[in-house]
């Protein structure tokens, strides 16, 4: 990716003060997003993938201590005042949530909800907003948009609702779309349609997409580049094809071995022993140390820095696969 990045996140950390004490949810994560790029962020629950994205658009509660920077279009999103933040959020960067039912307001029609976005951000009239809503429903391939625009969320199926969410997110032609598990609540045949739609949006509108998911199949389908997160850290980053063909971090290798693959006969699935550590403060050793078969003294006492094993392929590990092959 040689193009100037659209978004540059540096040393992002997020800590929560919980009843059980502090919790380090994200620990010094850096990444960039290029224009038109689909960046996948994968990891299991609690790895910090959603928190990372929510912190970019400042959707986290007050109790979250966020540090680092996220530069978008020359400004640091993490330092923006509320008024300027409102101008960016929803207009330049929009967010799609996992659960389309709970993210839509049940007492307003689909048209009202999409219309509200363009009326607020672009100052469109009521009539123009409705017209725009119809166009957007058409864009996300909802049949009979003229009729659907006056329907309420409960009248739509799960797949349709997710399309409405995407329509809302695209209302102001954003440069970045953050999609947090957009297909997780959907059936596989519906999921296929939503992924096709996201691909089409990128092609037609040039929107860059950050796709947060636990599903490696989704990433394999659509992402250009992938970040693997574990216990709040970025442990690996690579172009999608390379990540799947030559994973470097033992965690990534384990994750790929753990999924049943359609079309393949597997005798056993790989298991990753142990559990994800919950840390109160940034760990001063490798986060994967106590589950890693290659762990040694260095792993247990030092933080592995991200290093490039190949061009564009970063891994935070003292003993990546590449070293073993050599």
């Amino acid at each position: 990716m040689s193009a100037e990045p659209l978004l540059e996140v540096s040393d992002l950390s997020v800590r929560f003060d919980t009843d059980e004490g502090p919790l380090q949810a994200v620990d010094r994560v850096s990444f960039t997003l290029a224009p038109r790029e689909v960046l996948g962020i994968v990891g299991e629950s609690g790895c910090g993938k959603s928190v990372t994205c929510m912190s970019l658009v400042r959707l986290l509660p007050e109790t979250a201590a966020v540090s680092g920077s996220a530069v978008f279009d020359g400004v640091d999103l993490l330092a923006l005042g509320p008024r300027r933040l409102r101008r960016v959020r929803g207009r330049e960067i929009s967010y799609i949530f996992q659960e389309p039912m709970t993210s839509l307001n049940p007492v307003f029609t689909v048209g009202d909800q999409i219309g509200e976005v363009v009326r607020r951000h672009l100052g469109l009239s009521r009539r123009a907003a409705r017209q725009r809503a119809v166009e957007l429903l058409q864009l996300v391939r909802i049949p009979a948009p003229e009729r659907r625009v006056d329907e309420y969320p409960h009248q739509l199926s799960g797949g349709m609702r997710q399309r409405v969410m995407i329509a809302m997110a695209l209302a102001c032609d954003p440069k970045v779309l953050i999609a947090d598990e957009p297909t997780t609540a959907l059936d596989v045949t519906i999921q296929a349609g939503i992924l096709d739609l996201m691909r089409e949006i990128r092609e037609r509108l040039g929107t860059a997409i950050v796709l947060v998911t636990h599903n490696l199949g989704v990433v394999a389908d659509i992402a250009d580049r992938v970040i693997v997160m574990y216990a709040g850290r970025k442990v690996e980053e690579a172009p999608a094809e390379e990540l799947f063909a030559a994973p470097q971090h033992p965690y990534t290798v384990g994750l790929l071995g753990a999924i049943p693959r359609p079309g393949e006969r597997q005798e056993r699935l790989e298991e990753i022993p142990g559990r994800v550590p919950a840390a109160a403060a940034p760990l001063e050793h490798c986060v994967f140390a106590d589950r890693c078969r290659y762990a040694d003294e260095t792993t247990r006492t030092q933080v592995p820095a991200l290093r490039a094993v190949r061009r564009d392929h970063l891994v935070a590990c003292f003993h990546p696969e590449a070293d073993r092959a050599a």
């Binding site: 296929a192 349609g193 990433v219 394999a220 994750l255 049943p260 693959r261 006969r265 597997q266 699935l269």
Partner: protein, 347 residues
């Protein structure tokens, strides 16, 4: 018990629900399961695959008699259990157990893991306290839980550990039939793997027959010997695992397989996919004729038969059943998508 009979036989099972009248919506009948027949062979893992609203969970609940079927019959080792009273069912509960999807809500929060797992022994009065403790310890070890977990409450356990407790409870009476309803779909990938491996090992060692219900094709492929595909209350295809993956006949099975994501970009991005149009129809008002016709990519070929006549589930080749007008012995449905490539055994 009749050893020659299948472990479980379901015949023409129907389950309709009456949907209540609400404002703006009239009452109606939900056709959750409509005329479903299949059998679970001795020692077999049968995967029942379907998307939400297909009726797979209702079917499972009917099989273990958590729902009263509307009509049809269920036989356990040749014995008709469809209309047994709760009292007469009780001894059979030893033989037929269920594992639930949600390991959070299916365990009593006020009991320790050890008490939960020992409960079936206590209820069936099969063992005194001492023997019970021994048996619980045994099964704990078998499902990979440490002895210290016996005294923990469900909230102190992780999702994977809770599902192990659920499995231990279901298996402590050594049942001959296990019905597992999406037992891993609430779990993280790496935890899923360990539960799937465990279920497979337990099945091989203990020899129970298992009806495994899921929406995930890759999981059934890993685990099951045969696969039954359900759509809108009906079985549309039943065949061996290899057959389903190599040679899916029903257009819905083909679409489902083509939508399954292969975790390998090089392969996934090459595949010819078919994306189904529209949404699944409501089970309140299923389409006439073939229930899949409203979304079927091959509807042009199957009409007008598929508009009026419901295709029966029939054998098109040995042990391969399909419910489609375009599929008959000696004539295949056109291939509309690439199934995931089948490669030889790995790992």
């Amino acid at each position: 018990m009749n050893d020659a009979a299948p472990a479980l036989e379901v015949e023409s099972l129907v389950k309709h629900f009456t949907s209540g009248r609400r404002i703006g919506a009239g009452g109606g009948t939900v056709h959750a399961v409509d005329d479903v027949s299949f059998s679970l062979r001795q020692g077999e893992m049968l995967g029942l695959v379907g998307e939400s609203g297909s009726g797979k969970t209702t079917l499972a609940n009917c099989v273990v008699r958590l729902h009263e079927p509307t009509s049809g019959s269920i036989r356990l080792h040749g014995r008709d259990i469809t209309h047994l009273s709760r009292r007469d069912l009780r001894p059979l509960r030893r033989d037929l157990h269920m594992v639930f999807q949600d390991p959070y809500s299916s365990l009593n929060p006020r009991m320790t893991a050890g008490e939960i797992v020992g409960e079936p022994l206590r209820l069936h009065r099969l063992a005194g306290r001492k023997v019970r403790t021994g048996r619980v310890a045994e099964i704990f070890e078998r499902v990979g839980l440490g002895p210290e977990h016996r005294f923990r409450y469900p909230h102190e356990l992780s999702g994977g550990q809770r599902q192990r407790v659920g499995l231990a409870r279901s298996l402590i009476l050594n049942p001959s039939v296990l019905v597992a309803d999406e037992p891993v779909s609430a779990l993280d990938v790496s935890v899923q793997a360990s539960i799937l491996n465990l279920l497979r090992d337990l099945q091989r060692d203990m020899g129970f027959s298992c009806l495994f219900i899921t929406h995930d094709l890759a999981t059934v492929e890993f685990l099951c010997d045969r696969i039954a595909v359900m759509y809108l209350g009906k079985l549309v295809e039943v065949a061996s695992r290899d057959e389903i993956f190599r040679d899916p006949e029903h257009p819905y099975t083909q679409a489902l397989l083509s939508a399954a994501l292969v975790p390998d970009p090089a392969e996934q991005r090459q595949r010819r996919r078919v994306v189904l149009e529209g949404d699944p129809p409501s089970p309140l008002d299923p389409p006439s004729g073939c229930r899949f016709r409203t979304r079927c990519p091959l509807h042009d070929l199957s009409a007008p038969d598929s508009d009026e006549i419901e295709p029966p589930l029939r054998e098109v080749s040995p042990d391969h059943l399909v419910a489609c007008h375009l599929s008959a012995p000696g004539s295949k449905t056109p291939r509309i998508a690439d199934p995931p490539v089948t490669t030889p055994v790995t790992g």
